[in-house]
């Protein structure tokens, strides 16, 4: 990476850091976004300011008498001390727990979280041994989140990467506006799931509510059960061998492989009769390169 050290990057302004990391502005049909990689540069998996944590260094937090802000501050402090595995007890449905973690971390939440849990994360592996409220993992960039029970509405709203898994059923508008990554639901999903989906894949092992994939621009939805109705511009497509292999691999990985296989899954894609984006997300460009 052009010989720039993490220490030097930390001292830079945001604009200087963007330029130093090869992040340039590119005009894309009237919109602009940062290209967050340089194909000639060495791969950088962590943010320069991310703490260097040790997964074998483990600790616990009792969230019972703490506010959500105190819990999140405690997680950051422990990561700064090098703890790479943190177990959070007694979350008791508190909102916005474990948000904004931009680093590798094994986080285990023993209980249920409220709204906006593990939102805005980029990198951690999270297991929630409970239920999650609305907007779990919103804007997730990478990492894995596995929810052992049910989830509320807008599960995985606008995620751009990573694997987001709910073993139970989820509410409405799952994966609304998702721009990448994978959402897997072991049970059912509610109405308007995949609404305005732009990229990524969603797998629903159970049934899907009405208006599935409404106004989706792109991306793929797989449903193992019944679909109450498709939304505007959402159409069925042939389930290819590549689809089946990918589904088998992903569902096996998370212990959600149905006993009767994946041949019965229905594949939903955008009819593209409405607006769609032709430009790839930065991380998708990276995969192609």
């Amino acid at each position: 990476m052009s010989g720039i050290s993490d220490a030097q990057l930390r001292e830079m302004t945001q604009e200087e850091r963007v330029n130093a990391l090869g992040m340039t502005t590119e005009q894309l049909t009237g919109k602009s976004l940062y290209i967050e990689f340089d194909p000639d540069a060495q791969e950088r998996f962590a943010y320069p300011w991310a703490p260097d944590v040790d997964f074998n260094k483990r600790t616990e937090i009792d969230a019972g008498d703490l506010t959500n802000t105190e819990v999140n501050s405690r997680i950051r402090d422990l990561m700064a001390e090098g703890y790479g595995t943190i177990v959070l007890h007694n979350p008791r449905g508190k909102h916005s727990l474990a948000v904004g973690i931009l680093s590798r971390l094994n986080l285990i939440i023993e209980g249920s979280t409220g709204y906006f849990g593990v939102g805005l994360i980029d990198g951690p592996n999270v297991r929630i041994n409970g239920r999650v409220g609305w907007s779990c993992a919103e804007n997730m960039m990478s990492g894995t989140v596995v929810v052992e029970k049910n989830a509320g509405s807008t599960f995985g709203a606008a995620i751009r990467g990573g694997d987001l898994v709910c073993r139970g059923s989820v509410g409405s508008r799952t994966g609304i506006d998702m721009k990448g990554g994978t959402i897997i639901v072991g049970g059912d999903t509610g109405a308007l799931s995949g609404f305005m989906m732009q990229r990524g894949r969603m797998v629903v092992c159970g049934n899907a509510g009405k208006n599935l994939g409404d106004s989706m621009y792109d991306g793929t939805i797989y449903v193992g059960g019944e679909i109450r109705s498709l939304g505007v511009d959402a159409v069925t497509a042939d389930l290819t061998n590549l689809d089946k292999e990918w589904l088998t691999r992903k569902l096996t990985q998370y212990g959600l492989m149905p006993g009767d296989g994946v041949d019965h899954f229905t594949k939903i894609v955008a009819g593209k009769q409405l607006w769609n984006y032709d430009n790839l997300e930065p991380n998708e460009k990276k995969l192609i390169l």
């Binding site: 008791r92 249920s112 239920r131 509405s153 059923s169 508008r173 509610g190 109405a191 308007l192």
Partner: protein, 311 residues
């Protein structure tokens, strides 16, 4: 935004006053303007409990003259009760502007209630054999303390924390709403009803009265209309999904039932916990955790979902 909560114990009584207070206090951030309860006990002996307000809380700042007017209003209410043959067993002035009566009455309570509300400034908040409806400005802790709800024993109840959006911050716009004149029926609502005026005019043409401009009151009147015409609670809830436009989740209690309905968009939240002896629901899980700290299974009801539970 607003927060709603409800619970029902199956086949047993509990301190629902304290339970609802814990749930509603946990939802304070969803609506700090006012808090309301509709809790169901049993005065015993077929007596009626009537809760009413004789002024708004802010009226107390009008000076000494308001107190004289309040006394006149109470005298007027007492005279109307006597004229309808109601025997007042208990009369409590819980707040300067809020009263609680326990009555014996053999006549038409709807007729009596309508007569009482002809008194200027008087609104009956609830009337029934089990229902006690309390609502006031402030959070759950302050309202519960002011009205002595901490020890209220009963079977079920619903509550509301209000963030005023389309109407004023006052008691008449606070939830729950009693389904006047249908005894023991109450409603709390989170959402916006977009065909409110169309539906309100339809209900008014059918003879129903509205005490506020709050769209949530429509749900109480709508429910009362159906129940008064022999429609079961579950069917009334189902019809509302088709007939009422907007985004809403609402809870309805009768003397021995608790029901919920969620609109076709499922845009307003509800988290549900069901066990053999307790059903609890709230806008956010944190409210349920306030009364059940141990790990439990909960889920979100789906769009157009209607449920009714029996005490």
């Amino acid at each position: 935004m607003c927060g709603i909560a409800g619970l029902i114990h199956k086949g047993r009584r509990a301190n629902v006053g304290a339970e609802m207070t814990s749930m509603l206090q946990a939802l304070k951030h969803r609506g700090p303007d006012s808090t309301g309860y509709a809790v169901y006990g049993d005065p015993g002996g077929g007596e009626y409990v009537m809760r009413l307000k004789i002024a708004e809380a802010e009226d107390m700042e009008l000076g000494r003259s308001i107190h004289d007017r309040l006394e006149e209003r109470i005298e007027a209410v007492d005279a109307i009760l006597a004229s309808h043959g109601a025997e007042v067993k208990v009369k409590e002035r819980v707040r300067p502007y809020a009263l609680r009566y326990v009555l014996n009455h053999d006549g038409d309570t709807g007729d009596m209630a309508g007569h009482i509300e002809e008194t200027e400034g008087v609104e009956i908040l609830s009337l029934g054999n089990g229902l006690e409806l309390i609502k006031d400005l402030g959070d759950a802790g302050s309202v519960a303390e002011a009205y002595g709800l901490g020890g209220f024993e009963g079977t079920h109840g619903i509550g509301h924390t209000r963030m005023a959006t389309e109407s004023d911050v006052d008691i008449k716009s606070a939830h729950p709403y009693w389904a006047f004149p249908y005894n023991d029926v109450s409603v709390v609502h989170n959402g916006q009803i977009t065909n409110y005026w169309i539906m309100r005019r339809e209900m008014e043409r059918k003879g129903h009265r509205f005490m506020s401009d709050c769209d949530s009151e429509l749900l109480a009147v709508y429910t009362a209309h159906h129940l008064a015409n022999g429609v079961q609670l579950e069917e009334s809830l189902r019809r509302s999904i088709d007939e009422i436009d907007g985004v809403f989740t609402y809870l309805v209690c009768t003397r021995d039932q608790l029901g919920m309905a969620k609109d076709t968009m499922a845009a307003k939240p509800l988290v549900l916990y069901e066990s053999d002896d307790l059903i609890a629901m709230a806008s956010e899980e944190v409210a349920i955790r306030a009364i059940i700290p141990e790990e439990i299974d909960t889920h979100d009801p789906y769009d157009e979902e209607v449920r009714v539970w029996q005490a």
